[in-house]
């Protein structure tokens, strides 16, 4: 059985409800701040790492729901750069959890390909321990051609850091004459970032802030805060968030008819190549 996408977690009735909701507009990109694993652990008097494991199980269920709903892109906030400041024990446990799960993913790569899941890890990868960095690079390269569901995992990530890294790339681009300063605009910056703009952002466990997640991208996003702890998140919570989105979503932006400048396109292609090269370097 697949660990990353949990099968058999949707009853007949739930599937029917999913199909009803699906008749309306469904967000094309949904982001989750999976908060509440530690509080869940405390509440149920288990240790923190059990809480984090439960959190991961919930993620695999959520991915199945998103696949059934036909949502093509899901972004989750798994580990913030600020989280490195937690106790060594907890950070080590989280790194071990990630290593185990990414290893599982590589082991079951055939199934992942069958589901068509593309995994993208966004963040300052240079902060990760070497073995984990090479593992996530492998995962990204192995799944890069899948296109049914794009799963972005924000790991060693903060929104500010993402903007800073994009700025570094653009500054380098100017130095190397790949792009001229006149062509730098909001659109170019948006596309130089690791993550795209979500239409709906869900944060669990009752906190009502972004905690440095996707700061640039959420300008027009519907933000949905719910009190439920992440390990206790159910399909009904997800459907409620989507109904809220359907009631309040801003109208779909008309596609920009302006042709993107040739230089910009070339620059973005160049960035893509550079990223792929970096990943290959991390593997070896």
């Amino acid at each position: 059985m697949s660990l990353w996408i949990k099968e058999n977690c949707v009853s007949f009735f739930q599937l029917f409800c999913i199909k009803v909701i699906k008749t309306g507009r469904v967000p094309q990109h949904i982001a989750f701040i999976m908060d509440g694993n530690r509080r869940y652990a405390k509440k149920n008097s288990v240790d923190k790492s059990t809480g984090h494991h439960k959190g991961f199980d919930k993620l695999s269920e959520t991915l199945k729901w998103c696949l059934d709903l036909g949502i093509p892109e899901v972004t989750v906030y798994a580990f913030s750069i600020e989280n490195f400041k937690r106790s060594k024990e907890e950070v080590d446990a989280l790194m071990e959890l990630a290593r185990e799960k990414f290893q599982n993913l590589l082991d079951e790569i055939d199934q992942i390909d069958e589901w068509g899941v593309r995994v993208h890890v966004a963040g300052r990868l240079s902060l990760l321990p070497e073995h984990l960095r090479s593992l996530v690079s492998k995962v990204m390269l192995a799944t890069k051609d899948n296109n049914r569901l794009c799963l972005n995992i924000a790991y060693a990530y903060t929104g500010r850091d993402e903007i800073s890294r994009a700025a570094s790339r653009i500054i380098d681009g100017v130095k190397e004459n790949k792009i001229s300063p006149e062509n730098i605009d909001e659109e170019l910056i948006s596309q130089s970032l690791d993550l795209g703009e979500p239409e709906l952002l869900v944060r669990t466990s009752g906190e009502v802030r972004l905690s440095d997640f996707m700061l640039w991208q959420i300008s027009n996003t519907v933000l949905y805060f719910t009190d439920v702890l992440w390990p206790e998140f159910t399909i009904w919570n997800l459907l409620a968030a989507i109904i809220h989105f359907q009631r309040n979503a801003p109208p779909i932006k008309a596609e920009d008819t302006n042709e993107t400048a040739h230089e910009k396109k070339e620059f973005l292609k160049y960035l893509e190549q550079r990223r792929a090269q970096e990943l290959t370097k991390y593997i070896s």
């Binding site: 750069i81 937690r86 500010r160 800073s164 605009d185 972004l210 905690s211 027009n220 519907v222």
Partner: protein, 254 residues
């Protein structure tokens, strides 16, 4: 085919029922509010009493409050009252975020409305774009509030401009490693914005929470709290939001 029709029917029915419930709720709220507080366009003594009574009880208060204001729903008087309430509550920085792009042109009007409302209220209001005008209160230690208006021009555009100027080497920056760190970039950004703390609290009204492009760099720890679902800005909802805020503990990360 039949099952598709059934699904579409149920979908429409679901949203119809929700619309009905929300509509009924709104009517009830409005009726209830009308009955309990007279719709005044000026700050009343009862308003101030309510704030003075409740605010000192709170365990924490925002240093920098942002109010998302939309001219389609909020009048200048609504916003002026918000300034006075915040002044009385002792909030040092208040900013309006101009969602609809109208407020920036009406700063003068807002200024006058605030002056009209301020009569007899101790404290000093500083407009960041104006020289100090309004006075001090005979040596009594009074609250001071700094008022700013931001719009989408101060968000992504400003960051874009910063990056452009960094490329053209017009502004100096540090870069110790291959990739600029958030701290290094923050040094550049803070030089561009007025030196005020990052917002701790953003109040929105209406049914949906959306930043509309509010200061992307500065809102990483800002809490978003709803004032009302029907865009009504009442003193009760202001005090209620302050209560909600004081119960949250601020943590970094997820």
């Amino acid at each position: 085919m039949l099952s598709r029709l059934l699904r579409q029917f149920l979908f429409a029915l679901l949203h119809l029922i929700l619309n009905f419930i929300v509509g009924a709720q709104n009517v009830y709220c409005r009726y209830w509010l009308k009955k309990h507080s007279l719709q005044d366009y000026e700050v009343t003594k009862t308003d101030l009493k309510l704030i003075v009574k409740h605010i000192p009880k709170l365990s924490k208060q925002p240093k920098h409050l942002v109010v998302l204001s939309d001219s389609d729903y909020h009048s200048i008087d609504d916003l002026a009252r918000m300034v006075i309430w915040s002044l009385v509550a002792g909030i040092p920085f208040l900013s309006f975020y101009d969602v609809s792009g109208q407020l920036s042109y009406q700063e003068e009007k807002l200024f006058n409305a605030v002056e009209k409302n301020k009569k007899g209220v101790p404290g000093c209001i500083k407009w960041s774009k104006k020289p100090d005008l309004n006075g001090y209160t005979n040596g009594i230690p009074a609250h001071k509030i700094v008022v700013n208006i931001f719009s989408c021009q101060n968000g992504r555009s400003t960051i874009t401009q910063c990056i452009k100027e960094m490329c053209e080497e017009k502004i100096p920056y540090n870069r110790k490693s291959d990739q600029i760190t958030a701290q290094e970039f923050d040094d550049v950004i803070s030089a561009v914005y007025p030196s005020i703390p990052d917002p701790d609290l953003a109040l929105f009204s209406g049914p949906v929470c959306c930043t509309h492009g509010l200061l992307p760099w500065q809102i990483r720890l800002t809490e978003f709290i709803s004032l009302s679902v029907d865009y009504n800005l009442s003193v009760e909802s202001f005090v209620g939001a302050m209560y909600k805020y004081s119960k949250c503990d601020q943590r970094f990360g997820t």
